[in-house]
């Protein structure tokens, strides 16, 4: 088995999950409570990775972070390196790709917190930020955990995006799914078998645990 690839996938999934918790939470908060008319546009953009072919997303990310783009140029100036075909580049792509898996469970969880509880806290003189920390976070704990688990699992399983943005560099961007692809291409069916079975078992356990916690983990945008 390609332990290097498995290790890389786990590192990528962990990093992606952490970044998404930080980025996704305020976004989910905004989506839950904003009354802006154009909110649906943001919802649609966040949900895009659910329906887009990963190669399309990967292609645009590749262009967007390339050395000729403003983002890629800035990154090169700051670090001296390039984003495409690097771990950092993979991370950017993974964050976008797994965004709906963080934001949607969080929106579902935030939306199920009774708004009266927030208002009660505000009327007690507690700021919005503290109210979020002291009322919303504890009550949405399950949804936040679901978001983390799904994002982690989804990142472990990504293929097309990684191939487009990261290529196939051992130890840098060759994740477990690409390793399986390599093994099958080189007719190493035993290796592909083992690694695939590991991924199936991993994914099944993650989903079983998640569903046992929360019935509606996979629902799309909750009604609001």
């Amino acid at each position: 088995m390609d332990w290097q690839a498995i290790g890389l996938s786990l590192r990528l999934a962990l990093a992606t999950t952490l970044v998404l918790q930080v980025v996704g939470m305020p976004l989910a908060w905004w989506v839950t409570f904003s009354r802006r008319r154009w909110k649906f546009l943001v919802e649609a953009v966040v949900a895009l990775p659910l329906v887009l072919p990963p190669t399309v997303l990967g292609f645009y990310v590749l262009i967007a972070i390339g050395p000729r783009s403003p983002v890629g140029a800035l990154y090169a100036r700051l670090t001296g390196g390039l984003l495409p075909f690097s771990f950092a580049g993979l991370l950017v792509a993974s964050v976008l790709y797994s965004m709906p898996f963080t934001v949607q469970p969080m929106v579902a969880a935030f939306g199920s917190v009774d708004r009266k509880l927030l208002e009660a806290s505000w009327c007690l003189g507690i700021s919005r930020a503290s109210t979020f920390r002291r009322v919303v976070m504890p009550l949405a704990r399950q949804g936040i955990a679901t978001a983390a688990i799904l994002s982690f699992a989804h990142t472990v399983g990504e293929f097309g995006v990684v191939l487009m943005v990261g290529g196939n560099i051992a130890g840098v961007t060759r994740t477990v799914s690409i390793s399986i692809y390599d093994q099958a291409q080189s007719l190493d069916y035993a290796g592909a078998w083992h690694t695939s079975l590991l991924l199936v078992a991993f994914s099944f356990v993650v989903l079983a645990v998640t569903y046992s916690w929360q019935r509606r983990a996979w629902m799309l945008w909750p009604p609001h």
Partner: protein
């Protein structure tokens, strides 16, 4: 009297409901004010406007010397800056926190401990809100709001989440708690008995407008308009005296007659309030039912109002009954006739005369 709180708010709700309310309350002279009106009159919306949870399309709210909201000058204070404690209809206790932590949510440990003591919650300190009764939840909500030392207390239908027997008990308790809170309060209710029992001052709201404000007794005694009279329409409010009590019942002397009611723990001079539709009329001799208050009297006047007949009786005191026009015809009612009026024990509401 100088107004402590003035509010002048206009807004249109998403459903098209229009609120255009002008309110001026002397909260320092009359600490407990009831905002009274039928369901859908906009009472809760007005309370939320006062709390800062809704923004008016146009309006101005001034409490003491602070402007909370003035759309003309672009002044807006967030709920956090208004120091107006809110007790929600279903109390909105934080379900993940114990009673003690709920009360201490926005208070120093000392203030919270004092409130726990005063509201008799010490025995429930470690319980979660779902594990205590409705009446206890209400006390926790009140203690939580007061522990944050607000300048004004707003209560939205504080008794409506309770079952009937708890409501009667809690009503009396709540009056005492509000009167001794040291903070003026505004209580929303659509219940006439509650309004009389709780408030010093009363504002009547109908269809988004404040129609009359004044001392409770005065508003009930002298409604300024037919709309207010209809809104406050308790036909029978009778001065009564408690004669005796026992087995959960009170015996009340009303005029020459004696009425029975449920014992809510009242004492001293009281008012017995009876809705006209709760009075039944009969020609039968002594009925089989012993649970009922049976009064003999003379018919003074009959007025047919659509499908209903309003019958004014003299039972040693004036009693108004509302029966169907059909049964009035069946009884062949005529002024001057003698008749029996029957009122169920549970339909006699006892209100402290204060």
């Amino acid at each position: 009297m100088a107004a402590t709180l003035t509010a002048n708010c206009r807004c249109v709700l998403p459903g098209g409901f229009r609120l255009d309310a002008a309110l001026a309350l002397p909260l320092d002279e009359a600490p407990v004010t009831v905002l009274f009106g039928p369901s859908g009159a906009g009472k809760t919306t007005l309370l939320r406007l006062l709390a800062g949870l809704e923004r008016p399309d146009a309006g101005k709210i001034v409490f003491r010397d602070r402007t909370w909201c003035d759309t003309a000058r672009g002044v807006w204070l967030e709920p956090q800056q208004r120091r107006a404690g809110m007790v929600f209809q279903h109390y909105a206790l934080f379900p993940h926190l114990t009673v003690e932590r709920n009360v201490a949510f926005a208070a120093t440990g000392q203030a919270a401990a004092r409130m726990m003591e005063r509201f008799g919650l010490s025995g429930l300190a470690g319980r979660l809100p779902r594990a205590i009764s409705g009446g206890e939840q209400q006390r926790v909500a009140l203690a939580r709001a007061l522990a944050a030392s607000p300048d004004l207390l707003l209560l939205d239908e504080p008794l409506s989440a309770l079952d009937a027997s708890a409501r009667i008990r809690t009503r009396r308790e709540l009056r005492g708690l509000l009167a001794s809170a040291g903070v003026p309060s505004i209580v929303v209710t659509h219940d006439r008995t509650e309004a009389i029992a709780l408030a010093d001052w009363m504002a009547v709201m109908v269809e988004g407008r404040i129609l009359q404000t004044g001392p409770v007794r005065e508003v009930f005694a002298r409604p300024a308009s037919a709309q207010v009279a209809e809104a406050v329409g308790v036909e029978n409010i009778l001065p009564a005296e408690i004669v005796s009590r026992g087995a959960g019942l009170l015996r009340l002397a009303v005029g020459r007659a004696v009425l029975e009611s449920l014992d809510g723990g009242e004492s001293g001079p009281v008012l017995a309030s009876i809705r006209a539709e709760d009075v039944a009329l009969t020609r039968d001799a002594v009925g089989a039912s012993t649970q009922r208050n049976r009064l003999t009297g003379v018919v003074r006047a009959i007025a047919i109002e659509g499908p209903l007949a309003r019958v004014e009786m003299d039972c040693g005191f004036a009693l108004v009954a509302l029966v169907t026009a059909q049964s009035a015809a069946d009884l062949n009612l005529r002024p001057g006739e003698s008749l029996a009026a029957i009122v169920k024990t549970t339909s006699v509401h006892v209100i402290p005369a204060g």
